[in-house]
């Protein structure tokens, strides 16, 4: 029983049943008393009417007429009344069903008739002006029977409601438990460490299935975040070792090497450079985590991707030209998207950094922004050495660098950050063959022209002119 009491499902179901039963009880009692009151009222009125009729006979012809009327009435086959008339001294002049001499007014009596069991009756007694007492009684047996039947029916109904309610409560409670238990057992399994557990979802699509689906989606997301975290920790553990080792090497070299100011300064400068490299790596990891957490979505605004690309091309143009490479920036008028300016800037700079870092002089780098039916399309392509087909999926993973010696600058997080930024913008990223070279194609959801958002207004060319 305490177990039942602790179950919200049972409490709910039993509570509901109790409320229903109470309502039935109150209604039943109301019906019972109202019906009784009406019946008794009618019953009393018929006695009163009979008494009034007899009194009229008496007033017209005195006791003899009254006696006649009583005899006449008593003879009527459908007459349900019993009469008694007592004279001034209390002696019975007429007496049916052993009615006794009583004080005037209403009262209850037993009606005894020959050969029949005694019955419950009700009477009205009146003192006549000449001192006689007239008693008119009626058999209340039918009324009693009706009342008993009504009472019985109501009691049976109440008991049935209680029984059905209790049974329903138990079934309802059991059903709730059956639906909820998988959820709590899944949760318990997850608490115990098995993150792969999922709530089994039925096919009915009811509230429980929907809750189960939401829970599963939530669990998927959590599992993904946990996996990210786990991977970051292990990546950090592995990939921070190399730059930390270099840092340590620089410090150790300085301590053990020639103790001249010049070489000590060199060692310190090396150590500073290496620590900056560690910090840059650290920053990049934190940045990826920040992007993957999705917090940036709160800052999303309408941005013209074409203008952004043009700005960044202007920023990188001189550097790319100085490296004897060619930069072609090709973009249509306005390509509105919804995003975070700083992240999108970082995405493009990372791609251009890569194009500068991993190609030889003479390479052409193309940045193109176009509106396509599928969304805003950004392409950064180069005519450099490219990426072998087998590695194209791999290079967007964390810390993946294709030069095994790790001699070029960079920490192997650039493309991973690009992928994270694309994904937080609900976009798609593809690494393709530019034959020759590598082509990064990014598709971002466009803001539709018909969207009359005020933010988009700002992006229209005439408005830009106004702002400028």
């Amino acid at each position: 029983m305490p177990k039942l009491r602790r179950s919200a499902a049972y409490r709910l179901a039993f509570g509901y049943t109790a409320v229903c039963a109470l309502a039935v009880l109150v209604t039943g009692l109301g019906v019972y008393y109202a019906a009784s009151a009406i019946l008794w009222h009618d019953f009393d009125r018929s006695i009163t009417q009979e008494m009034t009729g007899l009194e009229r006979e008496y007033s017209e012809g005195g006791v003899p007429d009254l006696m006649d009327a009583l005899a006449r009435h008593a003879r009527r086959s459908d007459n349900g009344f019993r009469y008694a008339l007592f004279d001034r001294t209390g002696r019975a002049k007429l007496r049916q069903a052993s009615l006794a001499q009583v004080e005037p007014g209403w009262g209850k009596t037993r009606l005894d008739e020959k050969g029949q069991p005694s019955r419950h009756g009700r009477f009205l007694a009146k003192r006549l002006p000449t001192g006689e007492t007239l008693v008119v009684a009626a058999d209340a047996h039918d009324l009693d029977r009706f009342r008993d039947t009504l009472f019985g029916a109501l009691t049976a109904g109440f008991i049935m409601i209680l029984g059905l309610g209790a049974a329903g409560a138990i079934l309802f409670g059991r059903h709730l438990r059956k639906r909820l238990d998988p959820i709590s057992s899944t949760a318990e399994a997850i608490v115990a460490g098995d993150l792969k557990q999922r709530v089994s979802v039925g096919s009915s699509g009811d509230e429980f299935d929907r809750a189960g689906e939401s829970l599963n989606l939530m669990l998927d997301r959590i599992a993904q975040l946990v996996e990210n975290l786990r991977q970051v920790s292990s990546d950090v553990a592995h990939d921070l070792r190399t730059p930390l080792q270099r840092l340590r090497g620089a410090v150790e070299g300085g301590l053990n090497g020639a103790q001249e100011i010049a070489s000590l300064r060199t060692a310190l400068q090396d150590a500073l450079d290496h620590s900056d490299a560690v910090l840059a790596l650290f920053d990049a990891i934190l940045r990826i985590c920040e992007v993957e957490s999705g917090d940036a979505r709160e800052r999303f605004e309408a941005i013209d991707l074409a203008a952004l690309a043009a700005d960044i091309c202007e920023m990188y143009g001189p550097a790319i030209e100085d490296g004897a490479r060619t930069l072609i920036c090709d973009h249509s008028n306005v390509v509105p998207i919804c995003g975070d300016r700083e992240l999108l800037t970082q995405m493009l700079t990372n791609l251009l950094d890569n194009a500068v870092l991993h190609t030889h002089p003479g390479t052409t780098v193309l940045v193109s922004v176009r509106s396509s039916p599928a969304g805003a399309q950004l392409v950064v392509a180069d005519t450099g050495p490219g990426v072998p087909a087998a590695d194209r999926k791999r290079i967007i993973q964390r810390f993946v660098r294709l030069d095994r010696g790790r001699t070029t600058n960079g920490h192997g997080l650039g493309l991973n950050l690009v992928a994270a930024i694309v994904s937080t913008h609900d976009g798609r990223l593809a690494i393709e063959d530019n034959s020759p070279g590598m082509r990064v194609r990014i598709l971002l959801p466009a803001i539709h022209e018909d969207a009359s958002s005020p933010a988009l207004e700002v992006l229209k060319p005439d408005k830009i002119a106004l702002i400028a």
Binding site: L279, D283, R299, M315, A319
Partner: protein, 223 residues
């Protein structure tokens, strides 16, 4: 300069005091409550404010100061480095936001720039350093009697240098003010744009821009 340093980590505070001491007077407090009190009772030229203080968020200190109309420039120096953190810091009334770990030269250059900015009531529209003059409204640069034709970003770089003439401007400051980005691209964007600016200025006179190794650039006052 009188600097209020709000930093609860003693070792960081010592390093900062050491770095700032040669040219500035530093008062160091460790808690938000002390910082609020100091801000109300004394006058400082600048405040360096940590965010994760033992008793409150540094931004609460900043909020209190700004509410009390204490308008000294505030540089938030913190380990909270996400974009959201920086945005909330700047929206909370900070004049600059520098994420730990930082280079001492970076900090010195930034508080110098902040101080100079706060001294001016309204930002001027004309600058003149040596024989270089710059008109922000016409976006025109002249050296001696000749026009110097600059690309828009080169012009913006020169504005930063002229605003801080004789003082260092770091690469990060250029990136933030000229391009609005708060991360370091691998490609040395700043150096290449500066080198173009430098050679354009040189066509009309001596080399006006000094390179500060590992720090940034400085415009010579006697250019």
């Amino acid at each position: 300069m009188r600097i209020l340093l709000v930093e609860d980590d003693v070792q960081t505070a010592l390093l900062l005091e050491e770095g700032l001491a040669p040219s500035h007077r530093v008062m160091h407090v460790e808690t938000g409550a002390e910082a609020i009190h100091a801000g109300h009772s004394l006058t400082f030229d600048i405040a360096i404010l940590d965010r994760m203080l033992p008793d409150m968020d540094g931004l609460a200190v900043l909020h209190d100061w700004r509410a009390a109309d204490i308008r000294m420039p505030v540089l938030v120096l913190t380990a909270l480095g996400t974009v959201a953190d920086r945005v909330s810091g700047l929206e909370g009334g900070a004049d600059d936001y520098l994420v730990k770990p930082f280079a001492m030269d970076e900090l010195l250059a930034r508080i110098g720039a902040l101080k100079r900015r706060s001294l001016r009531d309204a930002p001027p529209t004309h600058y003149r350093v040596g024989d270089i003059s710059l008109d922000l409204l016409l976006r025109r640069v002249r050296r001696g009697d000749c026009d110097v034709h600059l690309q828009p970003r080169e012009f913006d770089l020169l504005v930063q240098l002229m605003r801080n003439a004789g003082e260092p401007v770091t690469r990060k400051m250029f990136l933030a003010t000229v391009w609005g980005i708060h991360f370091d691209p691998t490609t040395n964007i700043v150096d290449i744009h500066i080198s173009r600016l430098r050679s354009k200025l040189r066509q009309r006179g001596s080399d006006a821009i000094e390179t500060l190794q590992g720090v940034g650039y400085r415009l010579r006052r006697d250019a």
